[in-house]
Amino acid sequence: MSGFNPPRGPRQPSGHPNYGQRSGSSFYMTPNRRAPDPPLHKIQPGTGAFNQTNQSSPRQAQSSSGGTSMEDDVLIQLSYTAAKAFVQNYYNDLHTSRSTLTNYYTPTATISWNGNALTGGSDFQKLYETMPATTYEVQCFDAQPLVPNGRGQCSILLATNGYVKFGDDKDAPSRGFSESLILEPDNSTPVNFLITQQSVRFVF
């Protein structure tokens, strides 16, 4: 049988999380993992995310005109770097490396694929292993930082838009897609960002 109901991971709140309910845990992290936030200037954005090296360092400049503080600026830069690395790798692997797709997900990730509920990377990988050949072209993406996890990383809200071509023919049909994802840093060093929430929709 399919893997629609993998065992719940430790971080999944027991019972149905009702909107508006107090969750009791910090943002995507179990309380015991939470350490004091390090000084912000020590945060290195995009450290090793998906093995991408990144030379840029956080700007120590004054607050930007968008109204964000320096702390925000660092997190914004971090979310850009991580999102960029993610987009480059993930959408490429959707057609070249389908057998490893599960590695992009937390085991309990909740996914909505064009209105179909999937849970965890294994479901998603199974779906893509039976999909026709796809070539993704991300034409637009934007990312914002969520809440820092206290270890110099934060979860990221990512939105992408582009088109996907089905098949290798020149005239192969293609579809526009839009996605939004929540990426969460894991415990590994260098850190990986894993999908905990994903909403996929063909929009054209």
């Binding site: 399919s2 629609f4 109901n5 065992p7 719940r8 999944q12 709140p13 019972g15 149905h16 999380p17 009702n18 909107y19 508006g20 309910q21 107090r22 969750s23 009791g24 845990s25 910090s26 943002f27 930007s64 968008g66 109204g67 925000d72 600026d73 830069q77 850009y80 909740t110 694929w113 064009n114 209105g115 179909n116 509920a117 479901d123 779906l127 039976t130 999909m131 034409q139 637009c140 993406f141 934007d142 990312a143 914002q144 809440v147 809200l157 939105a159 838009n161 098949g167 049909p173 579809r175 526009g176 839009s178 939004s180 929540i182 905990t196 929430q197 909403s199 929709r201 929009v203 054209f204």
Partner: protein, 640 residues
């Protein structure tokens, strides 16, 4: 201008006799469109504007220039240095002869322009004349300055140049020396003549427009009395320029594409002895949405000669090629239909096969969906339908009608908002009606990280707190979202922990109109968007948006999630077998579609929740999220 009354509103506009404004415009246009030389003198002066001097090696020119140089005083390079040493006498001292190689010029028409002052006018002129103005100064209505004699003809070409919503007059203060008048005279004549031509062509258009038929009858143009008189057809070179010029003038009669579409449905080009369409090719740019076109009795013999129109006239319904050798080609009718798929009739004979359905029709899209292991479901995953609906149906109307109120209601000091534009998103083929491709208002704020790499811009374009978000919103076009029509929307809404609360991550796909574009473009223009919100409760029944990412793109319709698009064959899809005349069965089917439950479990779930679909969905989500859903409850195993 007789006959104007029989014209549609705009064909009588811009009569071209309101003074020098038209003269200058017309001259520039013809020049650009292909050296519309009316046989007058070519531009003279050593530094004539480049666009006027398309053919610099004419005898007339080489004759004029030396003369002018001889008459107009010192050779280039000597004058300026000498003269700057001695300041010219001030103005207002009555008539005064130009000193040395300089002419006193005056510029008027800037004083009553609301947005500019004298300095800006001077900067503008210096840019246009490619010359630093000497001693520029504002005196009353005029800006006075000095110009080397040799530059005067060039400067006068810019007389009546459009500037800041008005026109500038550039004139010499005193009468010019005879020598330089000689150099300028032909220039003036030439623009006069170009203007006369514009009026002539306009009269031709007026006389050949048939309002009842919305037809422009351009047949047998060589026999038109006014055109005959003009000498257009006396030689091949002017003949070739006549039609593009005619189209240019036609273009100017309309303010937008919708007007053209409404007022010119048919064009008749019969009996013009056209060997191909080279001469008339601009017709497709001027009237791209033409429905009926006649090329009857010309000399078109191959498809190659029609090539330039192959991908044009995408709305063409009727074409007449009778009397052209091309009609003798094998498979002629089939080929023509391949080129213009929308054709209903060729040479007055109807095609037996109707043309494919218009791409503008509702539900149009880029063809059928490829087969995917899972079906596309119109309804997304919604964990909390009540709050989701509440939020969506209050947020968007508020965003549309009162952005200031909206930002105060839904955002707080730590909220983030950013917008990005995908200018190259796929578009509906041939959808010129909805799909405007003007993004000027969005690009400066777009945070599309595919294109944007500058870290400063990436920070600056992420607006934090209500004041900054509102500031950004104020630069964006006004919007109109239709929350009354669910078919226009597709969204997922998942409950996610946010801080110490459970919030909602909402991913919303839909469309909006830009009301201002309706006025500007004459059509109801739309854009598609995807917007992601992170929302937490705010008070008893309010919502606080923590994060807001908006992606805007060309209008792409709703077919991607509309039920009629889901025609792909389903392997043993039980939903398809359910008879849809039973309301209970319909509810079961609906629940199955939204949850992937098997029919058995869907029925069970509906039973237990009193046949209330929203309760059933809630129950399903509860059970699923608690992990206690039986493994056989879900249909459509991904891998058998």
């Amino acid at each position: 201008m007789t006959g104007r009354s029989s014209l549609p509103a705009n064909l009588g506009r811009r009569t071209g006799v309101t003074g020098g404004v038209q003269k200058r415009r017309a001259s520039a246009k013809f020049d650009r469109e292909g050296d519309f030389d009316m046989g007058g003198q070519p531009p003279t002066g050593p530094k004539a504007r480049p666009i006027s001097g398309a053919k610099p090696t004419r005898a007339t020119r080489s004759n004029t220039v030396p003369n002018q140089k001889l008459d107009s005083g010192p050779a280039k390079g000597i004058r300026p240095v000498r003269n700057t040493a001695r300041p010219p006498p001030g103005v207002g001292k009555g008539p005064r002869q130009p000193t040395g190689g300089f002419i006193e010029m005056k510029v008027s028409g800037w004083k009553n322009l609301p947005k500019v002052n004298d300095i800006e006018t001077i900067i503008f002129l210096e840019k246009k004349l490619k010359e630093k103005l000497r001693k520029p100064r504002a005196v009353g209505e005029n800006i006075l300055f000095q110009l080397p004699l040799i530059k005067v003809p060039t400067a006068l070409e810019w007389d009546n140049v459009a500037f800041a919503g008005g026109n500038l007059r550039i004139q010499p203060v005193n009468e010019l020396p005879v020598s330089i008048q000689a150099a300028i005279k032909p220039q003036m004549d030439r623009s006069e003549q170009a203007q006369q031509t514009a009026v002539l062509l306009k009269n031709v258009l007026i006389s050949r427009y048939i309002p009842d038929a919305k037809m422009l009858d351009l047949s047998a143009l060589a026999t038109h009395p006014q055109l005959q008189g003009s000498g257009f057809f006396s030689q091949e070179s002017t003949r070739a320029k006549m039609f593009p010029a005619l189209m240019k003038v036609a273009d100017e009669q309309f303010t937008n594409r919708a007007e053209k579409r409404e007022q010119v449905v048919s064009v008749n080009l019969a009996n013009n002895t056209l060997p191909d369409i080279t001469m008339v090719v601009s017709l497709s740019t001027t009237f791209p949405e033409l429905k009926n076109l006649s090329l009857e009795n010309n000399n078109i013999s191959t498809f190659k000669q029609l090539e330039a129109w192959r991908f044009k006239f995408r709305k063409l319904e009727q074409l007449i090629l009778t009397g052209n050798p091309i009609t003798q080609l094998p498979n002629y009718r089939e080929e023509v239909r391949k080129w213009w798929k929308t054709l209903v009739m060729l040479d007055n004979v109807v095609y037996p096969e109707p043309p494919p359905a218009s791409k503008d029709a509702k539900g149009a899209g880029p063809g059928p969906f490829p087969q995917t292991p899972l079906s596309i479901k119109p309804t997304g995953m919604v964990d909390d339908p009540e709050h989701t609906n509440n939020f969506l149906s209050t947020f968007f109307p508020s965003f549309d009608s009162d952005r200031k109120g909206c930002v105060q209601t839904f955002y707080n000091e730590s909220s983030l908002f950013s917008i990005s534009v995908n200018v190259s998103a796929p578009r509906l083929p041939g959808d010129s009606k909805h799909s405007i491709q003007k993004w000027d208002a969005y690009i400066p704020k777009s945070r599309n990280m595919v294109r944007l790499r500058n870290p400063t811009a990436i920070k600056d374009r992420c607006a934090k707190n209500p004041a900054n978000i509102l500031k950004l919103w104020d630069t964006l076009p006004r919007t109109l979202h239709d929350v009354t029509d669910p078919s226009k929307w597709a969204y997922d809404s998942r409950n996610v922990p946010m801080g110490d609360m459970i919030g909602m991550q909402m991913t919303v796909h839909g469309e909006y109109e830009e009301p201002e574009n309706i006025a500007r473009e004459g059509v109801a223009s739309k854009r598609s968007f995807s917007r992601t919100f992170m929302v937490v409760p705010n008070g008893a029944d309010g919502y606080l948006i923590r994060r807001d990412i908006l992606i805007v793109r060309a209008y792409g319709g709703t077919h991607a999630w509309s039920p009629e698009a889901q025609a792909q064959p389903q392997a043993a899809g039980p939903a398809q077998q359910v008879p849809d005349n039973n309301p209970k069965q319909q509810l079961i089917a609906q629940l199955m579609a939204q949850t992937s439950l098997t029919q058995k479990y869907a029925e069970m779930c509906m039973e237990q929740t009193g046949w209330d679909i929203s309760k059933a969905l809630q129950a399903f989500n509860e059970v699923r999220n608690s992990g206690s859903l039986p493994p056989d409850a879900l249909a459509q195993p991904l891998v058998s």
